[in-house]
């Protein structure tokens, strides 16, 4: 069975550490990036299909990163994880290409559930 990889992009070291521990415990292989540029470098060689992106990143922000990722990986399942998200901007996240948006602080169980559902969806698409 091929390994299940997730990409976590967040400029906060502690948050990257926590998400890595949580996803690793659940059996995923975790790639980390602290910036959008680093994430794009990773994705050049590693076509990861499930991602969790912070929106407020140094340099290119999470929304721009999502748009860039969508060009090469249109079927990827991309989650936004943000510290500030007024409901009336939800349509902006959809326009950027995100599938789901989570507000911090988000429960790890919720993120793990989201990853599980994302891989199930990808498996379903592959079988078609």
């Amino acid at each position: 069975m091929s390994e299940k990889k997730v990409l976590v992009v967040d400029d906060e070291e502690k948050i990257r550490d926590i998400f890595e521990q949580a996803f690793s415990k659940a059996g995923y292989v975790v790639r980390l990036a602290e910036s959008a540029e680093e994430a794009l470098e990773i994705l050049k060689d590693d076509k990861i299909q499930v991602m969790f992106l912070d929106l407020d990143l140094p340099g290119m922000n999470g929304a721009e990163l999502c748009k860039q990722i969508r060009k090469d990986l249109p079927m990827a399942i991309i989650h936004a994880v943000t510290g500030y998200s007024p409901l009336f901007e939800f349509s902006d996240y959809r326009d950027a290409g995100f599938d789901v948006c989570f507000n911090k602080p988000v429960k790890l169980a919720v993120l793990l559930k989201a990853a599980e559902e994302a891989f199930k969806k990808l498996d379903t698409w592959k079988k078609r």
Partner: protein, 158 residues
């Protein structure tokens, strides 16, 4: 300017001002025993009263617009501050919450440490609810607090 706004902002204040001063003029004539129907005694009150009416209406509108502008700026400042506070607070909250969850994954439910960490998580949930409320502020509402006032978050999100 359309017909209705012109009537409301110019004609109506002129007529009201003119009528008020004409009434005073008629009253004055009656008091001194003069003929209240002498037309020439009303020309100046008519013009002066009408002009005063327009000037008062103009300044009233200006003060109303200024009050609305100040309230709007106050609200905008509150919303921007709330956004900054939410964004900054939610990052360390995520870290604390995440570390609590990771610790709880390695403990048994009956463990005393598990219960205490669950207590910490509960308080973080509470702070998370407060930041979610702050994100929904849309009105300037205050309540008394000691010697001053603070934003009443529950009323400000209604």
């Amino acid at each position: 300017m359309g017909m209705k706004p012109f009537l409301v902002t110019k004609i109506l204040p002129f007529v009201i001002g003119a009528l008020i001063l004409i009434s005073f003029s008629a009253l004055q004539k009656i008091i001194i025993g003069a003929n209240p129907f002498m037309i020439k005694g009303y020309v100046i009150p008519f013009i002066f009263g009408g002009a005063s009416g327009i000037i008062i209406a103009f300044f009233r509108k200006k003060w109303e617009n200024e009050a609305v502008r100040v309230e709007t700026e106050k609200l905008q400042a509150i919303i921007e501050m709330a956004a900054a506070v939410c964004h900054e607070l939610n990052q360390p909250l995520q870290s604390i919450y995440g570390y609590c969850e990771l610790l709880m994954m390695d403990l048994e439910e009956g463990d005393q440490s598990y219960k205490q960490i669950k207590g910490i998580k509960g308080q973080i949930d509470r702070v998370g609810e407060i930041t979610k409320k702050l994100m929904r502020v849309k009105r300037y509402e205050t309540k008394d607090y000691l010697k001053g006032k603070i934003i009443d978050i529950d009323r400000a999100i209604e």
